[in-house]
Symmetry: D2
Subunit: 355 residues, 4 copies
């Protein structure tokens, strides 16, 4: 049990169930004097909000956040920041179909096996709505990192077999398409592919790429708390994430030392840099100062409209057809969640002193 | 700073530098009454020992472990278990070539950037010898898990472009070849490939697969401390690891919900099982009772014999040729380290009560 | 920064400022299947509620709690329990007198020195209202401990020089007097003493005694996480607490080994017991099965009505007269807070497995 | 289980049993660039060494420490510092008298109740020799704090009923008497009292006072991780400690607000100070910049030579006479342990950044 807190010094604790009264997060350890208001957090929450396009579930939630504590006269005070998002769409619907039956690909069975009791309404705590707390923690982390000049570029690189064409990225396009892709051609193919899947009541997986710029050298701790290990921990904890790569990732396994090593040089400003960045901005678990580059594999939406074989909580074999409309792909809405978890991880290292 | 401890309730803290007096680990939180002696730990250490075959560095270390505390009359007592491995090969060699120069692909530069001071002898704390402490923690975790009936199968699945042929695995073969591969054909090709690379003073990456059997349903905590998130954290903290997958991993990103969801059924013993195991034995961060399957991407050995461009600690551009012989591939010796970190992660969940 | 979470496996995180929107707590790691509703928590909150008698501040707060998450159909689910108490009395009063001036005995100066910014309204985060979150965490811990049969008796043993007469305690009387004392004679003297102090706009300190019964042997971890060390940590973290004793406490310093050692015997049920309990139910940091007995020294209310010398945040010397009425003694209202922190500490050990 | 680590960012993990191969500690999170060698640590260890005077046990241990890792060319490197002290006096003596019998006042029974197995030789892990690891951690913390100018004065203030006469302290005298007292008259009375107790095979408790100077304002975190709460946690975890006070401690419970509040003023250097220091240098859990003053109640040595009633591990009532000579008082040798735990606690706050 437990496990709802992340971070050693900048700690995000989340709470809330899909159909409970509210969801939210407490951020403890945020430095004082960071400019913060509800609008800043809301901008991040809006990026994960459902119902804004044909590829996401039409649940009607305004998901308005409210800062309960820790901010005074527009600035953080160093005390815990509690932010809450109420559940408007909290109708006590008809859950008779999922109350006792384990949906394949969902956490229904494992929660039942672990706890013996679960809030089955909309998946309860295991719902994707749990990520609201992560995005709150991430938005506050971003407010801090913005003051340090750290930048993030996050987009969907692959959907099914459709890949971003390297060199064809237009990063301004990311916010202009509902799939958060950076390549217009790839987006159009992916949109078509998802339309077909929706027709078949099926869904697709995807790959998210996140590039973090302007991180200084020296962030991360050796051995277990390597920066890449903490990033992997943070991001693999997002529901539906099945794979994580830093830098060249699994491609490095196919490479050779002579190609994979990044030669050092001195740039015109006298800073030590690497000519290539196969390492993804991290060596020995500590940032090099180059862009931190990571890739995240996201599984297809498990809620699909076709009939699936399963068992109920009494152990009887049965089948289930999940009603309602669901996102045909999770990856686009997960971009802001990946970015949030990465930002939380970074701030957790920033707030530790070295002297 | 910090970061040398892993685990919340079963905690492994490691110490030691490559050429210091000794390396080792303290395991705190191990339950009492586990049968343990130096021989059991030694068996795991011998799996990572260098110099035993043509594909690993010929450093002459017997790497004999000594239990300093926590074991009494052949059993653990519940108090911290300290195990130490002395450094025999601790000659104060000539380090003038690496003292001030940053080796590409190594942590020399980032340690310097972070700390301003570093033990440059053999990489100091960032050396692969640091994994001795991990293997000690893993060996003790395995002693516990053996009593629970949990089994591990770990092998090198890929080296460069050479892949294990699914269906052609012979798991008894793993211990019989120096590359820890499970497919004899793949092994022979890989051995030839590595011979060629050694000739060119180059090195190769590889992929490790680890399958953990007989884990009961219910292990892992929701949200941030998901079992897969903790496994990723543990394993991505191993030096040279660049990618992590649970179950189908990045392949799930290419799949569809209808294929990727694992249907539930009831087996002949009345247990709830899944027909397929795309999820890799984890749903919502909690074990399902199916095999836990994970894959790990390992980069090529950064120590290569060719001349490489770099800078020194004064910022001057220079070049370096790393002398001595080095493993042409890291993955085989890393198998026992991956297995150790997975075992440590599992035990950390086992020792938390649910009632 | 940070520091708003307590507990390793049963973790209470609190948030909120005296005059912010709300205060509350998240409890993570509470086992599933504990019967819990708002009424149970409210009963504990009502014990710390101000304005119910002549010896506490007349702030009008109903302090109604609301469970936001973690409880489903009347039982805990194992997921984080968020409980919130709104601030009704959140009038934007006139704080011009305390905005820039450091009240003696309060945290105004130290918060300013640490953070450079502080919510000065009613003391912000350093207000006694912060204990609302502790009592929420304690009430939930008590719901768990009640199911285990653990009992608590907590009362004010001393106020100023007035002491409870040992042997004259009537534990039913505790709830019947506003000073939470167990000795009617002592209560009457203390009430008179406090009336005199109120007249002089002054305040008194006090001592709280807490006896915990029916804790089994074996709770607590050796070395740093001794049960008494964790209890001291928990209880010394309550504002205004200046001293902590376990068992005979400082009296043991005056005693001899032959008197202080508790001889073991076997009781009629075959259980190993001690004849005396100078140790306060803990040996080597682990519970013996005897009553856990602790005493807590609480300083006088720092908010007093007389004029006090101080400085303002610009460093100018000035004086302050604190207006409004304040509790002439903190100890009675702190009883439920001490009990809460003790309960939280105990549950944190209960939920760790030993096998 | 667990519990052998202390500190969040400056973390001390100890290991070792009284009669095992060695005892020691790993310090993780120590900043780089601190000058450290074995001599510095040895000076602290020598302060707790037994056998140096008539009031401590004559066990012959040189207790020589060895730095195993984390120090390079005379400076800390930021990596974990492992320090080991071998057990020379590790004769496999005759333990038949204590093997199965629970010594009153010791942890024999509680360890047995918790673990079912224990290293009974000399108390195993629960021995006073466990404090060697604490002193190692404290000596390293002191090396850091010395560079910050923080000073410690620690002495035995009371033994039995004999008290230091306030105003009669001579702090140079502390190191010159085996009882670590600061008042020569009190020392002479105490020495006589202890001689009498030794005659009777009995022992005495005592009180330790520790004053820490030159700590800047702003150290400590609000709510649970208050500086005084962490100090209480650290110091109450020392075996035999039964009481803890900060500032006026339990005397504050007898005081009034008008006397107990410390008025602020501005000193000639423009710093904000308090005229009195009843608070002991901490307000709201954060340091004020005044001396941190704490008092510690230590129980009498439980190992006494008279016959005591007890039970054995089979539940049979029996009696025990503890042979060998033992310290007639623990407090003097505990001074360096109290100081060590206080230093560890302070550094743990120093190494957290605020910006």
């Amino acid at each position: 049990m437990g496990g709802s807190s992340f971070g050693k010094n900048y700690t995000v604790t989340t709470f809330g169930e899909s159909h409970g009264r509210a969801l939210g997060a407490i951020v403890d350890g945020c430095p004082p004097g960071i400019f913060l208001d509800e609008e800043k957090i809301q901008a991040f929450l809006d990026r994960r909000k459902p119902g804004k396009d044909p590829y996401s579930t039409p649940r009607k939630e305004s998901d308005r956040c409210e800062i309960i504590s820790g901010v005074f006269e527009g600035q953080t005070t160093g005390t815990p920041i509690c932010v809450v998002v109420g559940n408007e769409d909290q109708v006590s619907g008809d859950y008779s179909d999922i109350k006792d039956v384990f949906r394949p690909g969902h956490a229904d069975f494992t929660y039942h096996a672990k706890y013996g009791i679960r809030d089955y309404r909309g998946g309860g705590r295991s719902s994707g709505r749990e990520t609201i707390g992560r995005v709150i923690g991430g938005a506050i982390a971003r407010a801090y990192l913005d003051q340090k000049g750290v930048g993030f570029t996050t987009y969907v690189e692959e959907i099914g077999d459709i890949k971003t064409d390297p060199g064809n990225e237009d990063f301004d396009f990311i916010e202009k398409n509902p799939l958060c892709m950076a390549d217009k051609n790839a987006y159009e193919k992916a949109a078509k592919y998802l339309d077909e899947l929706k027709e078949k009541k099926d869904s697709s997986g995807g790959v998210i790429k996140c590039v973090i710029s302007n991180v200084p050298p020296g962030l991360g701790d050796p051995v277990f708390d390597k920066l890449d290990a903490r990033l992997a921990y943070a991001i693999m904890s997002i529901g539906a994430v099945k794979g994580f790569e830093i830098g060249d990732g699994f491609l490095a396994a196919k490479s050779t030392g002579s190609k994979n090593n990044d030669p050092f040089y001195r740039d015109k400003d006298g800073r030590i840099r690497t000519k290539t960045n196969h390492s993804g901005g991290i060596l020995g678990g500590i940032s090099t100062g180059e862009d931190i580059v990571l890739r995240v594999g996201v599984k297809p939406t498990p809620s699909i409209g076709t009939n699936q074989q399963t068992v109920d909580k009494h152990g009887n074999e049965t089948s289930i057809t999940i009603h309602g409309r669901h996102d045909p792909v999770i990856a686009p809405r997960a971009c802001v969640v990946v970015e949030s978890m990465a930002a939380i991880t970074l701030v957790d290292f920033y707030v530790r002193s070295l002297s």
